[in-house]
């Protein structure tokens, strides 16, 4: 699983940092930052939830 984020689209709702704190964080401006580009199986559920809950569609999960 590979994850990319679009910080330009991010509206700082924080759903990602709340649901997958091992993978996403908010920087000092509150914008999404990626802590891990290829999260392991343990974080998969949280990452998928974060991608689905993100209100601005800033998170993409690539299954490659």
């Amino acid at each position: 699983m590979r994850v990319t984020v679009d910080s330009e689209r991010c509206v700082g709702a924080g759903q990602c940092a709340l649901n997958a704190p091992e993978v996403f964080d908010q920087d000092d401006d509150g914008i999404v930052t990626l802590l891990v580009q290829e999260p392991g199986a343990a974080d998969a559920e949280g990452v998928l939830a974060a991608a689905d809950l993100c209100p601005s569609g800033s998170i993409t999960v690539h299954e490659d």
Binding site: V11, G14, L18, Q26
Partner: protein
């Protein structure tokens, strides 16, 4: 493509004592193909959007606007005692991207998951003090007036850096704004003016003597004019007050009637979904011809996405009317969706969690002081909630 038979026409959603949230009306609307057409109390036709998928589509559509200045924007009448939105600079919930984004970006750092976590001790102190006051006053209380309303108001005051000596003033004026049933339009307009005057004075003080608070930090960014800043602050205050209070109050009722779930760590999310207090808040208008759920919506037609309807969509949530904190589906839209999704959502979550935890820990014998069917729900306001919640212990 439009449907050949034309849309189904339905009545405007109505809350009643039998159904304080009109969920059976929503269920029948969701069963129609496309969208259903309704009329505002003033006779203007609008589209009701009730399916989860369609609500999300409306709230992220680039040609669907949140700006009430656009022709055709649905005016649902009552506006929470707030002066007309377009009169207040900085009222960015009524702006679209990119104008909206400048305001949101300045505010995001104040409401991150981390920042809200840092606020926990001060929220716990506020909640404890309200419980102390309730317990000291006797063996019964109105949980709305004595707890659910003051807590978010005090949290916002502390966030903004309102000096403790002024918090009673701040709280009493915000309470007037909320008291739709007992205060007049004129009293609410006066309270809004007094709050704006107070906010402006506070801004002037923070300009001279900056502190470790939201106003001082926003001033330091230099991104907002004075007028915009006071509008933004009034918005934070209003958006975060009654909504949070309604959630706390309704949540206590649901937990008292489902006590087996008290203490469950996922109950906040499920209460947000179940009650959807901001059901009808995310009003929109099409600024071009668009298609949602196969239905053509013409430029200038008003759209009412119903968040409670989406949150009770059986396509997404199994047994949606059941209170089940352990359900696996988390995609509720109680905070809206898209760029306007509630900025303060992480603060609300923490306020709710601390409020329930402290209340049930410190007042374990808490119970309703009236039968369930005598609770005074808000039938006519824009928000779903309770006017009063008599409890005893």
């Amino acid at each position: 493509m439009t449907t050949s038979t034309g849309p189904t026409v339905v009545g405007f959603p109505r809350r009643t004592p039998e159904e304080p949230l009109p969920l059976s009306q929503y269920a029948s609307h969701r069963a129609q193909s496309g969208l259903v057409l309704s009329h505002l109390p003033n006779g203007v036709p609008i589209w009701l959007v009730t399916r989860h998928e369609d609500v999300r589509a409306v709230l992220t559509h680039p040609k669907i606007s949140a700006n009430p200045d656009n022709e055709g924007f649905p005016n649902v009448g009552e506006t929470m005692g707030v002066p007309k939105q377009e009169q207040i600079p900085g009222w960015f919930v009524g702006l679209d991207s990119p104008e909206h984004d400048r305001f949101r970006k300045v505010l995001i750092p104040e409401f991150t998951v981390r920042r809200v976590r840092e606020l926990r001790p001060s929220i716990e102190r506020i909640v404890d003090e309200r419980i102390d006051a309730m317990l000291a006053a006797g063996d019964r209380a109105d949980l709305i007036g004595d707890f659910a309303l003051p807590v978010p108001s005090l949290v916002i005051s502390s966030l903004l850096g309102v000096p403790p000596a002024d918090r009673d003033f701040f709280e009493s004026r915000t309470r007037t704004l909320v008291a739709i049933r007992t205060s007049t339009d004129e009293e609410r307009a006066t309270a809004t003016r007094e709050l704006l005057r107070y906010i402006n004075r506070l801004i002037a003080i923070k300009e001279k003597w900056p502190g470790d608070d939201l106003i001082s930090r926003l001033l330091a960014t230099g991104q907002l004019t004075g007028q915009e800043l006071s509008g933004v602050l009034l918005l934070l205050l209003i958006a975060g007050h009654e909504t949070t209070a309604n959630n706390i109050g309704l949540g206590v009722v649901t937990l008292l009637t489902n006590p087996q779930w008290i203490g469950n760590e996922r109950l906040v999310e499920e209460l947000l979904r179940l009650h959807s207090v901001a059901d009808m808040v995310a009003l929109r208008v099409a600024v071009d011809d668009v298609e949602i759920a196969g239905q053509l919506i013409r430029k200038g037609e008003g759209i009412v996405p119903l968040l409670a309807a989406a949150n009770h969509d059986t396509e997404v949530f199994a047994c949606p009317h059941a209170f089940d904190p352990e359900r696996s589906e988390r995609r509720h839209v109680a905070f809206g969706y898209g760029v306007h999704q509630c900025l303060g959502q992480n603060l609300v979550r923490v306020e709710m969690e601390i409020a329930y935890r402290k209340l049930f820990e410190r007042v374990p014998t808490l119970e309703l002081a009236v039968p369930l069917d005598e609770l005074a729900f808000k039938y006519d306001g824009i928000l779903f909630g309770l006017h009063e919640l008599p409890v005893r212990w």
